[in-house]
C-alpha cells in the first residue's frame, strides 16, 4: 500500500547550484589523488576537518557520501547490500549505506565517480557513539590501519575544564601523529593555524547567513539550506568554503532588501528536526501549498556549526578545535541541543516544529521529547513527531508523511485563527 512518489526539492538560489558543483569537484579531486597514488583517508563521524589541512590529506567523509547517493535515490540498493552482509535494519541507514557502497561487488557509474577505497581510517564517537563501531567492519574488510579519536561528552555546560580540553587535544594530536607515521608527511602547524582562522571566518559568515534567514519572509528555506550547509561539512578551514559563503551571503542580503521570500505569501514558518527525506526533498516543498515554509533544519548542523566563533583562536589550533567539539550541539548532551532549538525557534519566528524519527538513528530520536517539551514551554510552539527514515527509501510512505504534515498544519492554522 505504501506509495512511493518522490520529487526532488525545489531550490531557489544561484549560489546553492554553485555549491553543488563544488561538492562534485571535491570528490572528483579525491579520486584523482587516489589515481596519483596518494593515501586516501576515510573519516567517520565528526573528526574536525581542519586537522586534515595540516597534512596533505585527501578525505572522504563517510556520513556525507550517503546523502549524495540518497539524493539520486540509490541508497536503497546499497543499504540492501549491507543488510545482506549481516547488518541489522536497526543500525544507522547512513552507515549501512556506506558499508554497502564499500562492499558492493559492483558500483553504479554515479557512485563510481566519487568512491575510492581507503588507506587509513580516522574514526570518532562524535556525534554518535553507537555508530562509531561501524568503521571496525570497514577497517577489517579493507585491512587498513585506523585511529580512534575519543571525544568526551559535555557534562559541564559552557564551563569546560582544562583536563577535558587537554584530553581531546591529545586525541587530535594522536591522530595527526598517526597519519604522519602512515605516509601523510609531516604536520604543518602553520597550515593548521591558517585552517582554524579560515574556519572561524566560515562560521562568522554562517552566522550572518542565519541572520538573513531570520527575515520574514525568509530568503532561503532548508531545501537550499541543506546544500548550502555543505561547506560546513567539508570545507571548514578552506578559502573555497569562505568564498562560497561570501557569495551566498551577498545573494541573501539582496533578497532580504527586496523583501523576496521563497513563496509569495508566507503564513507559517516551520523548523525541521531530524533527517529530512533526501530521496524526496519535494516533501519539504509540499507544505508550501498551505503557505508554509520549512525555514530551517537542525540537520544543517550535522557537521557542527552552532558554536560561538570567539572560541576559535588560531594560535591555539588544537585547543580551539577541542573546545568547539565540546560545546557544539553535535556533542551529544541534550542540554546544548535543547537550548539551541529553543533559541532557533525564537530567532527564526518558528510556528511549528516537525520532528521526524529515523528509527535507525541512535542519537537524534532521543532528543525529540525534550525538545518538544522545552519549545512548548518556552514559546507555546507545538511539535509533531512521526517516523521517517531520511535515507532508506524502502521505509518511506508518502501518504503517511503527508497525512502527518496536513494534520499538523491544519491544527496550526486553526490555532492561529483563534
Amino acid at each position: 500500500m505504501a506509495t512511493k512518489v518522490t520529487t526532488p526539492g525545489k531550490k531557489s538560489l544561484e549560489t546553492t547550484a554553485e555549491i553543488s558543483k563544488a561538492i562534485k569537484a571535491y570528490y572528483g579531486g579525491v579520486k584523482v589523488a587516489k589515481e596519483e597514488g596518494k593515501p586516501i583517508i576515510w573519516s567517520y563521524g565528526l573528526t574536525p576537518r581542519e586537522i586534515f589541512h595540516a597534512l596533505d590529506a585527501h578525505v572522504i567523509y563517510l556520513e556525507h557520501l550517503p546523502l549524495m547517493v540518497g539524493a539520486k535515490q540509490l541508497s536503497g540498493h546499497y543499504i540492501q547490500v549491507a543488510e545482506e552482509e549481516g547488518f541489522s535494519r536497526d543500525v544507522c541507514a547512513f552507515h549501512r549505506c556506506f558499508l554497502g557502497c564499500a562492499v558492493a561487488s559492483e558500483r553504479d557509474p554515479y557512485l563510481d565517480q566519487f568512491f575510492v577505497d581507503p588507506d587509513i581510517i580516522i574514526a570518532t564517537n562524535l556525534p554518535c557513539m553507537s555508530e562509531s563501531k561501524s568503521f571496525l567492519y570497514a577497517a577489517d574488510y579493507h585491512n587498513v590501519p585506523y585511529y580512534f579519536i575519543d571525544a568526551p561528552i559535555n557534562t559541564w555546560g559552557q564551563d569546560i575544564p582544562d583536563y577535558a580540553i587537554e584530553y581531546y587535544t591529545g586525541q587530535l594530536k594522536g591522530a595527526l601523529d598517526f597519519m604522519s607515521e602512515h605516509g601523510l608527511g609531516t604536520v604543518d602547524w602553520d597550515k593548521l593555524k591558517e585552517a582554524v582562522s579560515l574556519s572561524k571566518k566560515l562560521i562568522l559568515l554562517w552566522n550572518e547567513i542565519d541572520k538573513c534567514r531570520q527575515a520574514v519572509p525568509t530568503p532561503m528555506g532548508t531545501v537550499d539550506g541543506l546544500t548550502a550547509a555543505y561547506p560546513l561539512i567539508q570545507l571548514p578551514g578552506t578559502q573555497l568554503g569562505v568564498t562560497l559563503f561570501e557569495r551566498l551571503l551577498k545573494e541573501l542580503k539582496g533578497k532580504v532588501e527586496r523583501g523576496e521570500g521563497i513563496i509569495d505569501d508566507e503564513k507559517l514558518r516551520l523548523l525541521w528536526f531530524g533527517v529530512p527525506p533526501f530521496y524526496n526533498m519535494g516533501l519539504l516543498n509540499y507544505v508550501e501549498k498551505y503557505g508554509a515554509v520549512v525555514v530551517k533544519s537542525m540537520i544543517e548542523y550535522i557537521a557542527g556549526g552552532a558554536y560561538d566563533p570567539s572560541i576559535m583562536n588560531p594560535d591555539k589550533p588544537l585547543e580551539s578545535l577541542a573546545y568547539k567539539a565540546l560545546v557544539d550541539i553535535v556533542n551529544p548532551t541534550s542540554e546544548n541541543m535543547v537550548n539551541f532549538i529553543r533559541r532557533t525557534v525564537k530567532d527564526f519566528h518558528i510556528d511549528g516544529v516537525v520532528g521526524v524519527v529515523k528509527r535507525s538513528c541512535g542519537l537524534l530520536p532521543g532528543y525529540m521529547r525534550p525538545v518538544k517539551d522545552a519549545v512548548y514551554e518556552d514559546s507555546g510552539v507545538p511539535t509533531t513527531i512521526f517516523d521517517l527514515d531520511g535515507l532508506d527509501i524502502r521505509e518511506y510512505d508518502d501518504a503517511t508523511s503527508k497525512a502527518n504534515l496536513d494534520s499538523f498544519i491544519e491544527a496550526l492554522l486553526a490555532s492561529k485563527r483563534r
Binding site: 552482509e85 549481516g86 547488518f87 541489522s88 536497526d90 543500525v91 544507522c92 552507515h95 564517537n125 554518535c128 557513539m129 553507537s130 555508530e131 562509531s132 563501531k133 561501524s134 571496525l136 567492519y137 577489517d140 580512534f148 575519543d150 568526551p152 561528552i153 557534562t155 575544564p161 583536563y163 577535558a164 587537554e166 584530553y167 591529545g170 586525541q171 594522536g174 551529544p332 548532551t333 541534550s334 542540554e335 524519527v357 528509527r359 535507525s360 538513528c361 541512535g362 542519537l363 530520536p365 532521543g366 532528543y367 525529540m368 521529547r369 525534550p370 517539551d373 513527531i385
Partner: protein, 368 residues
C-alpha cells in the same frame, strides 16, 4: 536451606537486601554500569546497587523515548517513572552508549525523585591521556560520593574496598572455573543467577556465601549433560530466561561474555600504590563490552574462552537497537565462524517473541 537456595532467593527479590540496609540507615546508590567503580561508593559507606531491568513491557517510557532506543534503557526509565527506584539515594550512569547518554538527560529532566550523575568515562582503553582524563573524572565522582554520604574516603578505606571486591571477583571466577569440566556442576542459568545475586548483595555477605557455595557445588550430584557446549554473548542479559531457553533446547551453556556474568569477575585490579590509579587502570585495561575501543581485545577474550571452556557454538543475543553490539558482532562473526559456528539473534529485552527464537536456537543446537 542450601547456600544455592539462599542465593536464588536473593535473585528473586533483590530489593530485600536494600530494605534491610535502608532500615538501618544505610544509603544506597544505583549504578549502571561497570565503568562506575562500586569500590568508591562502598568506601564512602554506601551500598552500590546495580539497577537491572525487568522483563515487563514498556509503558510510560514510550512517550519519552522513541521506540528505537534500546529496550533495556527504556525499561530502566519506565521503572524510574513508576517510582520503582525511589529507594535509591542517587543513580550513577557511565558514558557507554547513546542510549545511556539519553537516559541521563531524560532522568534529570523528568524524574526528580532520584538525583542522577553521569560519570564521563573515556571510551578508549590503553591510552595514557585517557587514564589521566578518567582520573580527573573519578576524583570528581569521589567528591560527589563523599558529599552524598557525609563520609571521607581515605586511601586506606578505598584500598580495603578494592580488596573486598577483588575477593568477590576471585571467588566468582573460581566457581566459574568448574564450568570447564566435561559435565559442569552448575547450569548456565544458575551461573547467571549466582553472578547477578553476587553483584547485588553487599560483598561482605557475598564472599561468605560464595565460599560455602563453591564447596557445596564441588560435591554436587550432577546429571549427565551431553549436548553441545554453548557460549552466550551479546548486550546486557539481566534475566536467565534466554539462557534457560538454550538449555531447554539441549545446549549446555558453559561460558559467556556478559557484563552481568563473566565480564563482571574475569579481571582483578593490578597491584598499585595509589588505589585511585588502580581503579583507573582496572577499568581502562579490560574490555567489558562493545562500548569500548579498541575491540581487538574483546575478540581475543572470546578466543580464550572458546578454547578454555571447549565451546562448540556461540549464540549472540543482541538487544534490539543496541548498535555497538550489532556492529561488533557483524565484524567478529565472520572471523569466529571460521572455527566455531555462530548464531546471531536480536532479542527484545522484554523477552517477547520467544517462540520464534526458540525455533532458531533449536535448529542451531541440532546442527551442532
Amino acid at each position: 536451606m542450601t547456600t544455592m537456595e539462599r542465593i536464588m532467593g536473593i535473585f528473586d527479590d533483590p530489593e530485600q537486601i536494600v530494605r534491610d540496609l535502608k532500615a538501618k540507615g544505610k544509603k544506597v546508590i544505583g549504578y549502571r554500569c561497570l565503568y562506575v567503580p562500586e569500590e568508591i561508593i562502598h568506601a564512602a559507606g554506601m551500598l552500590p546497587y546495580s539497577t537491572f531491568g525487568t522483563p515487563e513491557p514498556i509503558t510510560k517510557a514510550d512517550s519519552y523515548f522513541q521506540p528505537c532506543a534500546c529496550e533495556f534503557v527504556r525499561n530502566i526509565f519506565d521503572l524510574g517513572l513508576d517510582g520503582k527506584f525511589d529507594f535509591l539515594d542517587g543513580l550513577v550512569l557511565s558514558n557507554t552508549c547513546d542510549a545511556v547518554r539519553h537516559l541521563k538527560n531524560m532522568w534529570t529532566t523528568y524524574i526528580g525523585s532520584v538525583p542522577c550523575y553521569m560519570l564521563n568515562n573515556p571510551q578508549k582503553m590503553y591510552d595514557e591521556s585517557a587514564f589521566k582524563f578518567y582520573r580527573h573524572e573519578l576524583e570528581g565522582f569521589k567528591k560527589t560520593m563523599e558529599d552524598l554520604s557525609g563520609n571521607k574516603i581515605s586511601d586506606a578505606s578505598l584500598r580495603k574496598s578494592i580488596d573486598l571486591y577483588d575477593e568477590t571477583r576471585r571467588l566468582l571466577k573460581e566457581l566459574n572455573e568448574l564450568r570447564k569440566r566435561d559435565v559442569p556442576p552448575i547450569s548456565g542459568a544458575e551461573a547467571l543467577r549466582i553472578s547477578m545475586a553476587s553483584i547485588l548483595m553487599p560483598k561482605e555477605e557475598t564472599n561468605a556465601l560464595l565460599l560455602q557455595l563453591i564447596d557445596e557445588v564441588k560435591t554436587r550430584e550432577i546429571k549427565d549433560a551431553d549436548g553441545p557446549r554453548i557460549m552466550v554473548t551479546g548486550s546486557i542479559i539481566d534475566n536467565p530466561t534466554l539462557i534457560e531457553l538454550v538449555e531447554d533446547m539441549g545446549g549446555v551453556v558453559v561460558a559467556d561474555d556478559l557484563c552481568t556474568s563473566m565480564k563482571y569477575f574475569w579481571y582483578q585490579t593490578k597491584p598499585n600504590e595509589d588505589p585511585m590509579d588502580a581503579i583507573v587502570r582496572f577499568n581502562l585495561e579490560r574490555s567489558v563490552c562493545a562500548c569500548m575501543h579498541p575491540s581487538e581485545e574483546r575478540y581475543d577474550f572470546l578466543q580464550e574462552v572458546i578454547g578454555g571452556f571447549a565451546v562448540d557454538g556461540i549464540i549472540y543475543f543482541n538487544v534490539k537497537y543496541c548498535h555497538p553490539f550489532v556492529y561488533e558482532s557483524a565484524t567478529f562473526r565472520k572471523k569466529l565462524e571460521e572455527e566455531t559456528p555462530v548464531l546471531a539473534l536480536e532479542v527484545d529485552h522484554s523477552l517477547s517473541g520467544l517462540g520464534q527464537l526458540k525455533t532458531r536456537v533449536q535448529a542451531f543446537i541440532e546442527m551442532l
